[in-house]
């Protein structure tokens, strides 16, 4: 897709520098974007991608450097100017009103206050026209609350196009999509580019970057470390550039599954607010095996994780731990029953931010005889335990009395790993264990899970990242609206097929079974 004629430069970033205290988030970053080009902005978490885009969008003011839009310098710190200049941003988390229709959402904010009535017909016609031109299929009269995540994203893109965006910034757009929806998005982007738009695509998924972009800009520790044309590079090189070292995905050997350690038989649980509960779920977790749970977020993963973690009890069906119904199921019973729990949100549920490492490390067993006697804490023992975790799990920190708030996500997760894995548990619940971690920490977490599997633990890996599930799991189930698909053995399942299940097809008695 490399155009032969010299294309117009629509956006130029010139030596953008931004510091937050001692941290340099962006260090003299320069690149330009041509008309009809897709640039992928690649980098680990904390590499400075979001900061850079926030500067471009006027939400931050750069300490040094300049942004030029269509040859004109962009006044710093003014989101309005960026919008008017034709920059449209689609955030990872959508900013739509659920109770309004698609077209109302799109028009919202574009009408002046003094304008009494919306020119409904004109607005709708323009939106319909845009949606046809860019293949953004969506019912303009539907309420946004009823749309799927993929459709909502299309509405966000339409919103940007309606405001005459000529540069689209997409912040990790595929994080919430099924593979099919992601393919649709790519088709739309190609359409948009053909129509003369330019796109900045933020991601850390290499195959997507390879699939959609013309050029890749790689950030590491705030610096632009490399720029590659997609034809001149490959995923291995990009990964190496991104982390600054050759990385290897864990070499996953085949598992030798043992007996069933935990089983759910036709288990149901009540809905949790907007998210569905479990609907007749049957699942067996076997020793020496990683069971992967794929699915779009909000389809019952939370209910399953809460059930296994001891936070809820089944409303119907049978739940057995080590071949017996567990007595009075609770978080404490789960820990006592040998269930290691890595929670989905390490900041909100996994740790207490203002507790130090020691207090966090013993959170699940502070009243065990090792740390407490007759109601009094044995802090020296707790500190020794924590010191052991810090050493064995390579937690980078000033010491056991550091408040955990000060640790990076990766080190926080390592402490949680140490906390739950120290007692050699035989069932491990890992809910989004690598979300938001950099590649080094991701590999560390994965290797720990594999090591636990190899010593005979049953691991349940819940993740929205299909790559992760497919790479690690020996058996994969898909969850959709609280229902669980049958298990598929490693290697027998193609992403497209899993995507079908993730979209809700294939379940018995499903409404939209095809």
């Amino acid at each position: 897709m490399q155009g032969a004629e010299p294309a117009q430069t629509v956006l130029r970033l010139d030596k953008i520098t931004k510091r937050f205290g001692a941290l340099t988030a962006n260090d003299a970053v320069s690149f330009d974007l041509k008309k009809g080009e897709v640039i992928a902005l690649l980098g680990e978490n904390g590499a400075g991608k979001t900061t850079l885009m926030n500067i471009l969008f006027g939400q931050y003011t750069a300490d040094a450097g300049q942004v030029e839009l269509f040859g004109q310098p962009l006044p710093p710190g003014n989101p309005r100017a960026a919008l008017d200049g034709g920059v449209g941003m689609v955030h990872q988390h959508f900013t739509l009103a659920d109770n309004m229709t698609v077209w109302e959402n799109i028009v919202l904010g574009t009408q002046g206050l003094w304008q009494g009535r919306l020119d409904r017909a004109t607005a709708r016609a323009r939106i319909t026209d845009l949606s046809e031109r860019f293949h953004l299929a969506v019912d303009v009269d539907a309420k946004v609350g009823r749309l799927t995540v993929g459709e909502r994203q299309r509405v966000e893109i339409l919103k940007a196009l309606y405001r005459e965006a000529r540069i689209l910034i997409l912040d990790e757009p595929t994080a919430v999509l099924t593979p099919q929806e992601a393919d649709d998005l790519f088709a739309t982007l190609r359409q948009a580019v053909a129509a003369g738009l330019s796109v900045i695509f933020i991601s850390h998924k290499l195959h997507e970057v390879m699939a959609i972009s013309h050029r890749v800009v790689i950030l590491r520790h705030g610096r632009l470390v490399a720029e590659r044309l997609i034809g001149d590079t490959n995923p291995q090189e990009l990964a190496a550039l991104m982390v600054g070292a050759e990385v290897s995905a864990p070499d996953v050997a085949l598992a030798t599954p043992g007996k069933v350690l935990m089983a759910l038989d036709n288990v149901s649980s009540p809905d949790q607010g907007a998210a569905p509960g479990l609907d007749g779920v049957t699942l067996a977790l076997r020793a020496g095996q990683i069971t992967g749970l794929a699915g779009v977020s909000g389809n019952g993963q939370a209910a399953l994780s809460d059930l296994i973690g001891g936070l809820i009890t089944p409303a119907a069906g049978e739940f057995t731990l080590h071949d017996a119904a567990p007595p009075a199921w609770s978080p404490r019973a789960a820990v006592a029953g040998g269930v290691a729990r890595i929670p989905e949100d390490r900041h909100k549920t996994g740790t207490i931010a203002d507790f130090d490492l020691t207090e966090n490390a013993i959170l699940e067993q502070y009243n065990s005889p090792a740390f407490a006697r007759r109601g009094w804490m044995n802090w020296p023992a707790a500190r020794r335990f924590t010191q052991g975790i810090i050493e064995r799990y390579d937690v980078r920190c000033p010491g056991p009395s550091t408040r955990i708030r000060l640790l990076s996500g990766g080190n926080m997760q390592k402490l949680i790993l140490g906390r739950v894995l120290e007692g050699a548990p035989d069932i491990i619940l890992a809910n989004q264990p690598v979300r938001g971690l950099d590649i080094g920490a991701v590999n560390y977490v994965h290797s720990q899970l594999l090591a636990a599997r190899d010593r005979g633990a049953a691991v349940l890996l819940i993740s929205e990242d299909l790559d992760e599930v497919m790479r690690l799991s020996d058996v994969i189930h898909v969850i959709s609206e609280g229902r669980l698909s049958p298990g598929f053995d490693r290697g027998t399942m193609q992403p497209a097929e899993l995507g079908q299940w993730m979209a809700g097809h294939g379940f018995e008695g499903a409404e939209h079974a095809s």
Partner: protein
Amino acid sequence: MRLEPLANPTLLRRTAPPVLALVMTVVIASTLAMVAGGDPMAVLGLILQGAAGSKFALLETLNRATPLIFTGLAVAVAFRAKLWNIGAEAQLYAGAVITVVLGTGALQWPAFALIPTLAVLSMLAGALVLLIPALLKTRLGVDEVVTTLLFNFIFLLFVSMLLEGPLKDPMGMGWPKSARLIPEARLPRIIDGLRLHWGFGLALISALIVWLIQARSTLGYEMRAVGLNAEAARFAGIPVTRVILKTALLSGGLAALAGFSEVSGLKGSLTLDLSPDFGYTGIIVAMLALLHPMGVVVAAIFVAGIFVGADSMSRAIGVPSYLADIMLATALLLMVLAILFTRFRVKRD
């Protein structure tokens, strides 16, 4: 613009708020004293002299600080677990009522048995008074700020009813006042001939015990965990509801000791003016102490000193003793403000 907590406040930043608040309070109080027609240096000097200028003044200040240490501890313990106990006033009176009911002759025991029994049963009564709002909170989600606050008025009317009825002293010439405690029920004085009684000693011991509980016991660990992040505590297996109820028992019990110690150590009988808002002032004490049990002792003595000193100053030169209330309110507001500026930083987006 928004505020974000500083990652790791230095020792200076952590100790600065009380000092800054104190300095600014003195500045503002001086200005007000001038407006009221007094010489600010003289006013402040007289307050200081009245609070600590003589052995008598100092002991009076410690006497006044005693109930404030108990109510301050009660509030600090509860607030640490994010249980907003505004009802120390009611719990204080619950302790006082029990002391009077059992200490005026119902139990004819020797002092070494009677005094501890009265203290323990007072604590139990105060604990039960706070247990009701705590149960309403954990079972039904009723806001304890509202229930504990309103309970103060209900309980005060209840005490008033008792003092006009069953507890009324037949020899009291019609005043709403209880009979006097028997001598065996009176807390002895620490030094013969001076008004300071063993309630103050009990308050110091209580502060020490509360500090030990918070720092060293599993209950203290649970209380801090629940207060800082109840969701994570629940996930980890800490019985959040039970911890809140235990906190309520401890907090109510501590507040009740204030009532016990005032009746048994100082007044000898119960009247409706037993507590000049010791329960509410306990909130100020706890906040000034940043909820630290040892800080409560210091803050209570400081607050008591201002009250005692201002009374004495007012008698001497006629600047109204309301200056004390203003100084306390100012100190609290400035403390909150100082915390804001030393522990947080303003971030511009």
